[in-house]
């Protein structure tokens, strides 16, 4: 089993941020520029292996926090061919928040735009079938911060640094909205891919090799997308599909669902309906991640 230190590991310093490269005071808990936890670099040094960053991107309310939280929990429970070890208590916070909220039939709170409030997870993951360990850093970015950065680059530099360093990405799209004919998921996906294209900046004749898993979230609303996610994307998120084909060499399409059934609580006084996740029925959560790990 390969657990040897990576031969290609660059020299990491405990006070230099792994994400943006800023030198911080020895005692800093978060990077003063991008607000990544300094524990990430300290844990990486302890592992003697530079971690791979896998970013989960998508628009606000698409389900990034829920997807990532549930995925980490599945990994921690040795789902599929995986075994996972969290490095540091901070890595467990996200899955704990998501799972405990879902257990109480609530969606987890929105991720704030303030980067210092984002959850970060650092996991040592063993893919048993490949007999290979991978160290993964996965931040839970706010969809609004991603949207603001995509709209006006340099608004949130941490997003740029993260995507630039990412070895793989999961682009989450709202399948329920797309199936209903909304164009917003298609446009956002297109903007995001176009931004990734400019961040990774390969020549116009080349296509980007970084693995990108396009994940159709909330697929329980349109179960047909489980049958053939690629065909669903081609039909309902056609702009995204075309851009993927033109600019990205390593893309795969998946459908995923966390919530089994959804109820609606209606507040007559304020005339507001609140969605209540009645139970979870995880479907298609591991597959995109497994594919990304295989590509690393």
């Amino acid at each position: 089993m390969n657990m040897e230190p990576s031969a290609t590991m660059r020299k990491l310093e405990p006070d230099v941020c792994l994400i943006c490269g800023t030198r911080n005071p020895d005692s800093a808990i978060q990077c003063g520029v991008c607000f990544a936890p300094m524990a990430v670099v300290q844990d990486a040094i302890a592992q003697e292996r530079e971690p791979e960053i896998v970013s989960v991107v998508g628009e606000s309310n698409v389900g990034k926090t829920v997807y990532l939280g549930v995925l980490l929990d599945m990994l921690a429970q040795r789902a599929g061919d995986f075994k996972a070890i969290p490095k540091g208590a901070y890595s467990v916070d996200l899955q704990q928040t998501v799972i405990s909220h879902l257990a109480h039939r609530m969606f987890p709170p929105k991720t704030p735009m303030e980067a210092n409030s984002w959850y970060w997870a650092y996991y040592q993951v063993l893919h048993r079938a490949l007999n290979r360990w991978v160290d993964l850093v996965m931040p839970d970015m706010a969809g609004e911060s991603l949207a603001a950065e995509v709209q006006n680059p340099q608004t949130f530099r941490v997003v740029h640094s993260l995507l630039n360093k990412s070895s793989g990405m999961l682009l989450l799209c709202d399948a329920a909205q797309a199936a209903n004919g909304a164009t917003q998921p298609d446009f956002f996906g297109m903007k995001m891919l176009s931004y990734i294209d400019s961040v990774l900046g390969v020549g116009r004749d080349q296509r980007i090799n970084t693995p990108i898993a396009v994940v159709l979230c909330k697929a329980d609303h349109c179960p047909e997308c489980f049958d053939d996610p690629e065909a669903f994307v081609e039909a309902n998120l056609n702009r995204v599909w075309n851009l993927c084909e033109n600019r990205f060499a390593n893309v795969a399409f998946f459908a995923a669902s966390v919530v089994g059934s959804l109820g609606y609580a209606y507040d007559e006084k304020n005339q507001e309906a609140t969605a209540v996740p009645l139970h979870t029925a995880l479907c298609g959560i591991l597959e995109p991640f497994e594919w990304i790990v295989q590509q690393l």
């Binding site: 628009e59 606000s60 704030p112 303030e114 969809g143 949207a147 609140t274």
Partner: protein, 372 residues
């Protein structure tokens, strides 16, 4: 001696119309998407102002209190030279079933003259926004909305008791000292009286206020990169966040090292930058001349370097000195300010007052000589 009359604020002519650009930052669902973003803005908002506003605006959970009526305030200078003030409040439930309340910020963008019409005081600007919005914060997405008229401006000082304990004075002086040096700070205002945060802001020279960012009532977030944050809830949590960073933690119980020491004796010279100004701040606060200090700070619209503020502080002291000077001291001081070139409005007003006081004293001395 009260020099208040010399320091009455005067508004710039450019402020006759306080029509300002504005923007609403909140989370609503619209055909263009959902989540926190600028949902409405007037046409004069520039792209770099939008970026800066988005970067610094509070989002979900941004208000320190979960009370539906909680209020917060954020203010920061923009790269374009304008100053942005945002009134933050809750506007109903978060619409995405994710729990919590929707945070709503109504931002206004003021040029230098417009901000000066509010004595460079975000609290006063927020008061004008409240007067327009009332209890219903605007939630309608609009690509372009008209400018907002903020009325005639206001320079009213905060309503606080002029008599303060030495602890309060130490807290205020620590904030002023850090703000003058440009050190970012978080001030614990828990248990302080109403209006103490606004007072702390107002005893910072006006020209410095234009350059400093601030917040009150918001959860402390280092990523917002604000210079002066007042907090009165989640104290321990915030203190832990600030620890081991270059941001200063200012607590009433523990003023900054050195603060207060400079006031031990006026004759004691200190080489620390701004020492003279801090002595003036402390002695004025100690003696309950709060209104006078605020008017003086409001009038410092120019040179706020250590030398510039030391000159203003000396000039302020010399007005007292000259009012009781003997002939020799009167001659010395009058000569000193004979060809004095003021570098800010405060100095100009003080030197005028000095000259009047000196003339009055000369007359008194002349009368006394005649009587003898």
């Amino acid at each position: 001696m009260d020099r208040s009359a010399t320091l009455t604020p005067t508004h710039d002519q450019e402020t006759s119309s306080l029509l300002v650009d504005h923007a609403v930052f909140t989370s609503v669902r619209s055909p263009m998407g959902e989540g926190y973003r600028i949902i409405a803005a007037s046409g004069g908002l520039r792209p770099d102002e939008r970026m800066e506003t988005t970067r610094r605006a509070p989002s979900h959970g941004g208000l320190n209190s979960e009370d539906p009526d909680a209020l917060g305030l954020v203010g920061f200078p923009l790269p374009t030279g304008r100053y942005c003030v945002g009134l933050v409040r809750h506007a109903g439930k978060e619409h995405t079933s994710r729990g919590g309340l929707r945070v709503h910020t109504h931002f206004v963008f003021l040029n230098r003259a417009q901000f000066a019409a509010f004595a460079c005081d975000p609290w006063l600007v927020a008061g004008a926004i409240v007067a327009i919005d009332g209890d219903e914060p605007p939630l309608k997405p609009e690509t372009t909305c008209p400018q907002l008229c903020l009325g005639d401006g206001c320079s009213q000082p905060p309503d606080v008791s002029p008599r303060m304990s030495s602890v309060e004075v130490g807290w205020l002086e620590s904030i002023v000292a850090a703000a003058l040096r440009g050190d970012p700070l978080v001030a614990n205002a828990h248990g302080s009286g109403d209006g103490c945060e606004q007072l702390a802001w107002r005893v910072i020279p006006s020209v410095m206020r234009e350059k400093r960012s601030m917040s009150i009532g918001l959860t402390y977030a280092p990523s917002r990169a604000l210079d002066i944050c007042f907090i009165s809830e989640r104290i321990e949590e915030t203190r832990r966040l600030v620890m081991n960073t270059r941001t200063l933690w200012i607590d009433p119980a523990t003023p900054l090292p050195g603060v207060g020491a400079q006031a031990q004796g006026k004759g004691q010279a200190s080489s620390a930058p701004y020492a003279d100004w801090l002595v003036l701040t402390r002695t004025t606060l100690d003696s309950g001349r709060l209104g006078e200090l605020i008017r003086l700070c409001d009038a410092i619209d120019g040179d706020a370097t250590p030398d510039g503020l030391a000159t203003t502080a000396r000039l302020y002291d010399h007005i007292d000195e000259v009012s009781v000077a003997d002939a020799a001291d009167l001659a010395r001081l009058t000569t000193r300010y004979g060809g004095f070139a003021p570098t800010c409005r405060a100095q100009k007003l003080l030197v005028e007052r000095f000259k009047k006081t000196a003339a009055h004293r000369a007359q008194q001395l002349s009368q006394e000589a005649c009587e003898e």
